[in-house]
């Protein structure tokens, strides 16, 4: 098999790859971070706050993997607990109240897998985001910048448009998980990567994403102008039309 897909998997996970905060700081000005879900804790795997996109106030949210060892551990390598999704939803509702576009950056291998996450309703937290995001009366744009891992990624990607960086991946299951279920052999992740159709090109073909962003010196600039244009376009739409369009965007997938 050709190695194309697994090369992307490796690139998407590479150490030193730009994280959500790098994009937030590179694209927006005046970012003010907001913490906490008002219920249990502040999940550092998710960063959220307000910022300016040119002169437009926006809400920005991202799963954050961190850079050095300590930060990565503190942020659970970008795998959010229920509190992370609840923090995100709280910020999204605030954005809706003030008609601010919401811009999400997704980079997670998946929602956190552990006892506390289950005790506090990981499934419920994701489910609530999926349902609520579908009818938030403000534009939502999501960019998969690295790993888009399963429901934990989708919980920040029920959006009017979803874009991917050229080396990002987006999948229902990790290639390792897929290989171990299919062939009882997690080392066959390379083969599984091909089967899952998880590259940006595959997902563009499947109409799951709208756009691929090239990774080069102009990435920040391209994202900035692209996001601004899209935010203006969807902000200008009547809310009902925006929501119907968002519903149809997902409704047509799978048949």
């Amino acid at each position: 098999m050709k190695p194309r897909a697994f090369e992307k998997v490796t690139a998407a996970r590479a150490k030193g790859r730009l994280t959500s905060l790098d994009f937030i700081n590179g694209i927006f000005s005046h970012f003010i971070e907001m913490h906490g879900d008002r219920r249990f804790a502040d999940d550092k795997a998710v960063v959220a706050g307000v910022a300016s996109l040119e002169h437009m106030p926006v809400t920005v949210i991202g799963t954050e993997k961190g850079h050095d060892v300590r930060e990565r551990a503190m942020r659970n390598f970008g795998s959010a607990h229920p509190e992370g999704y609840r923090k995100a939803l709280r910020q999204m509702k605030l954005a809706e109240k003030f008609s601010r576009p919401i811009i999400c950056f997704v980079d997670t291998s998946g929602a956190y897998c552990g006892i506390g996450a289950e005790e506090r309703g990981q499934g419920q937290a994701i489910a609530e985001n999926l349902m609520e995001m579908m009818t938030l009366k403000t534009p939502i744009l999501s960019v998969i910048i690295g790993e888009g891992g399963s429901g934990g990624a989708l919980a920040l990607a029920v959006a009017d448009e979803v874009w991917m960086l050229e080396n990002a991946i987006y999948s229902v299951i990790s290639p390792e998980g897929c290989a171990s279920i299919l062939w009882k052999d997690s080392t066959k992740a390379k083969e599984a990567s091909e089967c899952l159709k998880l590259t940006a090109e595959d997902l563009l073909d499947l109409n799951v994403i709208e756009k691929i962003i090239l990774e080069n010196d102009a990435t920040h600039a391209a994202l900035k102008s692209g996001l601004l244009e899209a935010a203006r376009k969807y902000k200008a739409m009547p809310p009902d039309a925006l929501l119907e369009r968002r519903y149809r965007r997902f409704r047509v997938i799978g048949m």
Partner: protein, 280 residues
């Protein structure tokens, strides 16, 4: 013919039950080991220890819908191998033979205690009740149809989660069904979901947890990550009862645990009490 135990059984206690149980002289309860006569387990519950046997979608519909009222919808929808995923066609064929269904959910309209209701019931014998494009489509249509008519939806979940062989398409069904649930809800309609063993992964993280009223069968495994995956991740054994229905009740994620033998009565009462006064 026997229902084969699903391969990735997610530790569910649901032992297979012979389909032709009426002809079987007796069956042994997998939990309390008592020998049960066929007429003792008409509703597939052990009368001694309350063990709920895993049952198929048709048995469940028979148990819940008023006699002769169920009319199936979208039964012709059949999954295709959209991603050319290796081995998927063969798996689908095997699942069809094993379950006698075309996909992992059966949908339709019925009456429950005289209340007009849209019903969906997941089929654990079809690829572990996994959700792909067809299941997502059928469930979305069920909510849209119910929203149009202004009737409640009752759903029974039994699922290992998303269907890996449909890749990203199956992931997108979570957003699609969630949107349909919201549409139905925003029009003032009731959704009751009954979680049965097992309900995990993408189904838990979408419509199973989006219902107005969430019921569960005793001891049903309910969670996002499967227990085996969690144990591998944290390298510890999970405590007994972890992610079971009783655990979810204690942690505030379900409204009530309802024994199968009382489900029809409870559902009828709830539907009756949530009847809408205004008719569209």
């Amino acid at each position: 013919m026997r229902f084969k135990k699903p391969k990735n059984a997610l530790e569910g206690h649901g032992k297979p039950l012979p389909a032709d149980i009426e002809q079987e002289p007796s069956i042994v309860c997998p939990k309390c080991k008592k020998s049960l006569a066929a007429d003792e387990i008409k509703l597939r519950v052990c009368p001694y220890c309350r063990h709920h046997f895993q049952i198929n979608a048709r048995q469940r519909i028979h148990m819940i819908a008023d006699a002769g009222t169920f009319s199936e919808t979208d039964q012709e929808l059949t999954p295709r191998n959209l991603l050319d995923f290796p081995g998927y066609d063969r798996k689908l064929e095997a699942a069809r033979l094993q379950s006698a269904e075309r996909d992992s959910v059966v949908c339709g309209d019925c009456e429950i205690g005289g209340n007009q209701t849209a019903l969906f019931v997941m089929e654990p014998a079809f690829m572990m009740g996994s959700m792909g494009g067809v299941a997502g489509e059928k469930i979305a249509r069920t909510f849209e149809r119910a929203a149009e008519k202004g009737v409640p939806v009752v759903g029974f979940t039994a699922s290992g989660g998303a269907r890996m062989q449909e890749g990203i398409i199956s992931l997108m069904q979570m957003a699609k069904t969630g949107g349909a649930v919201k549409k139905h809800s925003d029009r003032g309609n009731l959704f009751i979901c009954v979680l049965t063993d097992p309900t995990t992964g993408g189904v838990t993280a979408s419509f199973a947890m989006q219902a107005d009223i969430i019921l569960a069968e005793p001891n049903a495994l309910i969670g996002f990550a499967g227990p085996r995956v969690i144990e591998q991740t944290i390298r510890k054994k999970l405590p007994a009862g972890f992610q079971r229905a009783e655990f979810q009740l204690e942690h505030g994620f379900i409204d009530s645990i309802v024994d199968r033998r009382r489900q029809k009565k409870i559902l009828s009462q709830l539907l009756q009490m949530h009847r809408r006064e205004r008719v569209i």
